[in-house]
Symmetry: C2
Amino acid sequence: MDYRNFVLQGDICYSKTAHSLVTAEHSFLVCTEGKSGGVFSRFSHIPRPYRQFPCIDYTGKLIIPGLVDLHMHAPQFTFRSLGMDLELLEWLETRAFPEEAKYEDRNYALQAYGALVATLQEGPNTRICLFGTVHVPATLLLMDLLEHSGLVCMVGKVNMDRNSPDTLREQDAARSAAATQAWLEQCGTYRNCTPILTPRFIPSCTDELLRRLSTLQRRYGLPLQSHLSENLREIAWVRELCPESSCYGDAYARFDLFGGDVPTVMAHCVYSGNEEIALMQRRGVYVAHCPQSNMNLASGIAPARRYLEAGLSMGLGSDVAGGVHTSIFRAMSDGIGVSKLRRCMGAGDEAPLTLEEVFYLGTRGGGAFFGQVGSFEAGYELDALVMEDPRPVPPFPLSLRERLERIVGCSDERSILMKYVRGLPVPAAGFKAHEGPRGKIRSRPLP
Amino acid sequence: MDYRNFVLQGDICYSKTAHSLVTAEHSFLVCTEGKSGGVFSRFSHIPRPYRQFPCIDYTGKLIIPGLVDLHMHAPQFTFRSLGMDLELLEWLETRAFPEEAKYEDRNYALQAYGALVATLQEGPNTRICLFGTVHVPATLLLMDLLEHSGLVCMVGKVNMDRNSPDTLREQDAARSAAATQAWLEQCGTYRNCTPILTPRFIPSCTDELLRRLSTLQRRYGLPLQSHLSENLREIAWVRELCPESSCYGDAYARFDLFGGDVPTVMAHCVYSGNEEIALMQRRGVYVAHCPQSNMNLASGIAPARRYLEAGLSMGLGSDVAGGVHTSIFRAMSDGIGVSKLRRCMGAGDEAPLTLEEVFYLGTRGGGAFFGQVGSFEAGYELDALVMEDPRPVPPFPLSLRERLERIVGCSDERSILMKYVRGLPVPAAGFKAHEGPRGKIRSRPLP
């Protein structure tokens, strides 16, 4: 059976816009060469060439786009949930930095990243932007593991040449850039796992380093990920370090590392002001909204609705290990929750986020950073989750939207029956590729 | 084997105070007649009469007190996670009230409560205070199910005779009180599941009803549970309904339904002012802090640290289905998270809660409402969870406190190997009573 050409039959949900959720019960999703051929409510509506595809019967199951995590730190997965009662700086010093330093040891990285990748395979995310560490061998190892995981990821070797502990800081801008170039030369053949430029954040990168990264960016045509306006002390620090920049975002923009021709995603944006918002809008910079991390690290609550209304590109991030949970379902429900707190704590008047909005952000919103990803409209790359209703199922009938609400709020990886990325099944503990999908395969659907 | 007399061997954690966590690796917890005989670091330290008890070897596993949920709504479990993007009033009208009305049908209640109780058996909570509905047969049915579940619970038939939808409101105070008395007459023989007086909250109870409930309270010596100062509109409403009361809490106190001789637990207390705090302190009223619900229903963030410092009795509540998750581990991690947001959103200067504090609240703090419960000090009723470290385990050594942090932050019911309440194993899907505990049973531990 060719997994890249098939039809999935079941109860299908996907986003059209941030406000419009398509719910199609008992419907058919066509996959042709790894892309969506569209969703059809009846078999007879499927265009003729697709009707001969094998049809996998997931009647009664939900079929939704795979989730997109726009921000996580791969080396921090090991200590997720540790130190969550610390504040940011203490947490960085006692947890994050010492742990990241360990990845100089390739054996340590193998063990740690192996466990991470297995966990990611079992979870609902299909696309992920990951920070690695400054270490080239460990970052290549992570990319190797991800390349064969079935997931599609962007991974960055981190750059940091100032204001960081000696165990992690790169010696100077030249060596940091040279290591980056060496890394880029070695990851050219990956298909599913591609490099993304990753200056840690303004306080840990000298101007000279940013200048060199900008040169590399142009040479290799790389996307970029970093942090922006996460907390007030950090913003004050950036103001001090870059007195010539009009806002934090401008400190990247001055080196052509902030959108425009450079696909850019910035994590957090808890405190982006009007000027920064306008700059991001103008230059098409993506926001990775990370509600759990912003709570855990006492950063605050990002004005996500404001960004949506300003038309910013936006998705969700787990920010593991500022966030504890890799699943973007958790980011969706936390996103609704903190948006309510934001209003009732008097931080803003915006209405809380809706289910439609957070589902959009966690699929199509973030997916756009990967191209035509995160929806089932014809032409989109086919990332899909086949999911069972979390148990116990209520003793009353549920609309498809309500079933999706339950998936978002109380499912875990046990609810995932099957996971496809670009039309290929993701191998994981639960669903080994060689066993084929769990649904019934028929040459055509039951009448 | 007599399950009420045994020794558990493993890595033991429990709270002494809100600030003091005992972590005892490779230690022995004695259970004698269902109560703790103490924790001992060596076999030779165990008092002689206990040394002949069978020793169950859980080496490498964590042994912690069972968790205590001071506030949940049993009939709302069916719709947990639905409507979480609504605000409180809309949620009550479209979700909570219509669902509760269904429990007039005993068959519906059987189906719904059956699923709830099975879920509770599998989870980490061992003691729970539950709201039922106004319906006597359904509430008795719930108590029946819980009585045989192995858990120890307090369950209340709800009273509400004003400001509620017709489908739920009891006709008048006399009939509400008469139904309550009829209910009490029928639940006298339970051993594990005992009644608790449950006026819904001040806005839904007339003075006449509260007066009658107070009479019943004195006659039957009942504890009491209700809601207090959950959100600002509710508080303003109570002020309007009870102009003679000096604060919301005083509206209960005027009818002798607020602590003193009446063991009382009040859910939420998001906005209790100085006078209310002083009243609660004076009368020993318990706070059920429900961080997830207070976020989901846009209520706000309770000043939990302030209550701790004021010496209030306090525990945690899931408040399902204002909260989505029954597990009090979730309330612990949410409790830390929202306490950080509270400060960084400028709502108070108090330091965030620590792991020690939330663990205390979810075990010993709430357990005190049930008596000597929630700790392993000698004399405490022996409620215990035997837990495995959540996977994947980090590739570095963990202290016992760190392992507890991971249990709190990223375990789920799959990590629970065994659950004891009053020294008896709780039957559940994973660990049927007749199979006995999963550890190795030896007449005495290995040297």
